[in-house]
């Protein structure tokens, strides 16, 4: 119970600070729209090719927006050296980490609330429940992994270089499964989305458990 309270307090702190500065989400929303504009020029879009291309654009944009969002999650803590102060409190590092990851996942969720309607609007693809659920379920696992490695690279040199190198390979399972589910839901690809949902939940559980076990070694250094 205590752990949950600490995690929620940390998450509230991050969300409050984002609400007061309003820098991350508006910037990422612009980034997302720009990515869609570039995709429009890079691909030959028409009503026939849209179902085949839009899922790829969705995941490419989401992955790079996620890297920026999670990279920022620990940037403010590093600049103010406030993580050390939080770790001096009796709160468990795993709870602090859970709070950071929860807040980062919510912020990325806000960006998805821009990305998915914009994708549906500009590329005229259906925005079904399956698409939203696949993206949201992938966000959970991507957030815990992204925050773990963001906490790590916040303390090393060349952090902008290292974060994608460490995070992207471990995000690939989410993109494999989520990508296929979105392809099916948008009318390309074959197969059902039922197994994708349960596989994404399995992956989420696996990575939430693993990250909560090792978070202490990454934060408490």
């Amino acid at each position: 119970m205590r752990t949950v309270a600490v995690a929620l307090a940390v998450a509230r702190k991050d969300l409050t600070s984002e609400w007061r500065t309003r820098e991350l989400v508006p910037a990422l929303a612009q980034f997302i729209v720009l990515a869609l504009v570039i995709a429009n020029f890079g691909f030959q879009f028409d009503s026939r090719t849209a179902p085949a291309i839009a899922p790829g654009v969705l995941w490419m944009t989401l992955v790079f927006a996620g890297l920026v969002a999670f990279g920022r999650a620990f940037a403010a803590e590093r600049e103010q050296a406030s993580l050390e102060a939080m770790l001096l409190t009796p709160a468990s590092p795993a709870a602090i980490f859970a709070g950071k990851a929860f807040a980062a996942a919510l912020l990325l969720g806000l960006c998805e609330a821009v990305l998915l309607p914009a994708l549906a609007l500009f590329f005229n693809v259906p925005l079904s429940f399956d698409v939203v659920s696949a993206v949201l379920l992938a966000t959970v696992g991507m957030a815990v992994l992204g925050c773990l490695f963001a906490a790590m690279v916040a303390r090393v040199r060349a952090r902008e270089l290292l974060l994608p190198l460490l995070t992207l390979p471990l995000w690939i399972p989410f993109i494999v499964i989520g990508g296929q589910a979105v392809q099916v839901a948008m009318g390309a690809g074959t197969g059902g989305t039922g197994s994708a949902t349960s596989l994404l939940i399995d992956l989420d559980i696996l990575f939430v458990v693993l990250t909560s076990l090792v978070a202490r070694f990454v934060l408490d250094d």
Binding site: L145, V156, R157, L162, L165, L210, F217, D221
Partner: protein, 235 residues
């Protein structure tokens, strides 16, 4: 003559000799494949080096867990050595697979589940070595790398079972399914044993290099403590 060789040099010479023995089994003892012709001989080293890479990454995983648990420097050095050697064997596996794929599949690369997951494996452990280089040497680098090594190992069973989990064009397991003729099986087992010995020797030598590097770093630190201005100019 031999007395002047260190135990590492002897082991390295032994490993080279064993690999030549394996080459003899591959090119002379094993019969030529009726369908694929001489290209099939790539299989022996391709599969052996994949298994050696799994073994090396298991060393990284166990070394990482032991380091996080006990803060044992030996475990960390072993993990470091395992990651580098494992990356070498993954490279060998990928390159030999591509050489085989060109005549058999007609292309060097296809986005098959096993090929893709092996490529991801390569990227994960290349990232592991990057963390080692970029993190602060010592406790931080060891801890961060251990975490990457633990997460990275998740991909090893994915690579291994990819041919059964997904429909792939990559040949499935033929050794454990008893689908190899006896002479080919002998050639494969000999090659695998020699390759695993080579991997062990490479890890041992790399481990020795890590020990010497750590000792040199410690000497620089202690020199800096004694005479800061002098040591500052040496680094």
């Amino acid at each position: 003559m031999t007395s002047r060789l260190s135990v590492y040099e002897k082991a390295a010479l032994g490993a080279v000799a064993l690999m030549l023995v394996a080459a003899g089994f591959i090119f002379v003892f094993a019969p030529e494949d009726a369908l694929q012709g001489p290209v099939q001989r790539i299989f022996y080293l391709h599969v052996s080096s994949a298994i050696a890479a799994y073994g090396c990454f298991a060393v990284v995983l166990i070394g990482g867990i032991v380091y996080l648990w006990k803060e044992n420097a030996t475990a960390d050095r072993l993990a470091r050595a395992g990651a580098l050697v494992g990356l070498v064997f993954t490279t060998v596996t990928l390159v030999m697979g591509m050489i085989w794929a060109k005549p058999i599949w007609g292309t060097f690369w296809t986005w098959d589940a096993r090929l893709t997951s092996t490529l991801v494996l390569w990227i994960i452990y290349a990232g592991y070595l990057m963390v080692r280089r970029l993190a602060e040497p010592g406790r931080q680098a060891a801890r961060f790398a251990a975490v990457v090594g633990i997460f990275g190992f998740i991909d090893v069973p994915v690579v291994h079972f990819s041919v059964t989990w997904w429909r792939t064009v990559h040949p499935g397991p033929i050794v454990i399914n008893d689908a190899l003729p006896a002479q080919m099986l002998v050639a494969f087992l000999v090659t695998m044993a020699c390759t695993l010995f080579l991997a062990g020797v490479m890890i041992a030598i790399r481990y020795r290099i890590e020990v010497v590097t750590d000792q040199a770093a410690a000497r620089i630190v202690s020199a800096a403590v004694v005479a800061p201005s002098k040591a500052g100019s040496t680094r």
